[in-house]
């Protein structure tokens, strides 16, 4: 009987046929290695996840703000660690990343009104319970409708990954762990 993620991840040499393109450049990471257990799910999920979390009409910094904040609120160790590194690469400061991770107050790191409105929206969407009309109105005052839809989808996609990674205890990669240590982030 096993409890960790190790046995859930597809081993080298056991990669199913439909999953092989995702391994073409080497280790695809634990999310792909787990989804490869169900190849038809992998090849459906990855284009969606790529569209939701990857490059799009919304800039990289903004997307990482949403991803790190959502992951922190969901308590996802794997996603917080992985995307703290990505957020730094996207140009966020240490203080901003720490604020997104709830280590310090958002107001102590962010001042730009659009970003503050977005963070308020993320906190509502990633939480539980109803979403108040005034919260929706507040974000729509500063963000275009299509941006609200995309960013809300991003919160949802991130929550999916948060629960997936947490439930399956996906391991943080050694490169990410080393970078976090270098940056002084847990």
């Amino acid at each position: 009987m096993v409890g960790g993620a190790g046995d859930l991840l597809i081993r080298p040499g056991q990669v199913p046929l439909l999953a092989r393109p995702y391994y073409a450049d080497g280790d695809p990471g634990p999310i792909v290695a787990a989804l490869a257990q169900v190849p038809e799910l992998l090849e459906t999920a990855m284009p969606f996840l790529g569209a939701a979390l990857g490059p799009s009409g919304i800039d990289w910094r903004t997307k990482e703000i949403v991803i790190v904040r959502t992951s922190a609120l969901a308590g996802c160790r794997y996603c917080v660690q992985a995307h703290s590194v990505v957020a730094l690469d996207a140009g966020l400061s240490h203080e901003e990343v720490r604020a997104l991770r709830t280590d310090i107050a958002v107001a102590d790191a962010f001042a730009e009104p659009r970003e503050l409105a977005l963070l308020e929206w993320v906190d509502v969407v990633a939480g539980t319970g109803p979403v108040p009309d005034d919260a929706r109105a507040a974000v729509r005052r500063l963000w275009a409708d299509h941006e609200v839809v995309e960013l809300t989808t991003l919160v949802g996609a991130t929550l999916l990954l948060n629960r997936f990674a947490t439930a399956l205890a996906l391991p943080t990669g050694p490169d990410t762990a080393a970078r976090l240590a270098t940056e002084g982030l847990p």
Binding site: P16, L17, L18, Q37, P39, L41
Partner: protein, 281 residues
């Protein structure tokens, strides 16, 4: 799915030879014997991994609707499942069936029950590797040879179509001639005798047996198991108690169109003529 779709992309691919026409099913993985070269580590204590009777009938029906031309049933020893004679008979109402068996369970009661297959498009493919008991049984099980040569005439007499499958790393001409004389004497002509190599998967790996087979060496015969759909009946092998996934296509097996279409995509991504360099069929 009830409407026939023989004219759809799967049927067209089968008709033009892009996809093999046979759909295989692993009925179960447990077996009364434990052959040295078994792909699936089958044996009395193996996990059964049973593909349910209704699921097998659904595969048979949908295979016919999609335009496949034949069915194959393998295991494990399929006749450890008591319902197998009647199940094979019902499956054959959709498509012709070839069913693989070690033929060691054909005592009187099963022989009586298997008469339901007489005259139906169902052939039993029976393993017989060598013309002598000692060399045959060394790789299979004690008394295997004796049980097989006793069962075959009983089946032939009852009007059951029988094929012989010889699975060997190599066999010299003299031994092969004696084996062919044996099966002819048992009522099985040369046209119903196939010789195939041991493939280095499953228990064969632990005994240093067999040839390595890449995906391009194996015909893309859609193979349905309780664990998913695979590329070829040589795909859903077991080693170290773990199911191999390197030839897994999809976990989804119903509707059958899902793995069939995924298989077709994979096949069409391959260079033509790239299959079967080892002659594994």
């Amino acid at each position: 799915m009830t409407a026939t779709t023989v004219d759809g992309p799967i049927g067209a691919a089968v008709a033009e030879g892009t996809l093999p026409g046979r759909v295989w099913m692993y009925a179960n993985y447990h077996c009364n014997i434990a052959c040295t070269y078994c792909l699936t580590e089958s044996g009395p204590r193996a996990e059964a991994r049973v593909l349910g009777a209704q699921a097998m009938l659904d595969v048979a029906r949908q295979a016919a609707e999609l335009g496949f031309t034949d069915l194959g049933v393998t295991g494990g020893e399929i006749f450890l499942r008591p319902e197998m004679p009647e199940l094979l008979a019902e499956m054959s109402t959709y498509l012709p069936v070839i069913a693989l068996t070690n033929a060691t369970l054909f005592a009187r009661r099963l022989l009586d029950r298997i008469e339901v297959l007489a005259g139906l498009p169902v052939a039993l493919q029976i393993s017989l590797d060598r013309p002598d008991p000692d060399t045959n049984d060394a790789m299979r099980a004690p008394d295997n040879f004796a049980k097989v040569v006793a069962a075959i005439p009983e089946l032939v007499t009852r009007g059951i179509a029988v094929r012989i499958a010889t699975t060997v790393s190599s066999i010299d001409d003299v031994e092969l001639d004696r084996l062919c004389a044996l099966h002819r004497g048992l009522g099985v002509p040369d046209t119903d005798h196939v010789i195939r190599p041991i493939v280095a998967r499953g228990r064969a790996v632990d005994h240093g047996l067999g040839v390595s087979a890449a995906v391009s060496d194996l015909p893309a015969e859609l193979t349905i198991t309780a664990d998913g759909a695979f590329w070829s009946p040589f795909g859903p092998t077991v080693h170290g108690g773990l199911l191999d996934t390197d030839l897994l296509i999809t976990r989804t097996t119903a509707p059958l169109a899902v793995p069939a279409q995924a298989l077709l995509r994979l096949v069409e991504g391959q260079p033509r003529g790239a299959d079967s360099t080892l002659g594994i069929r």
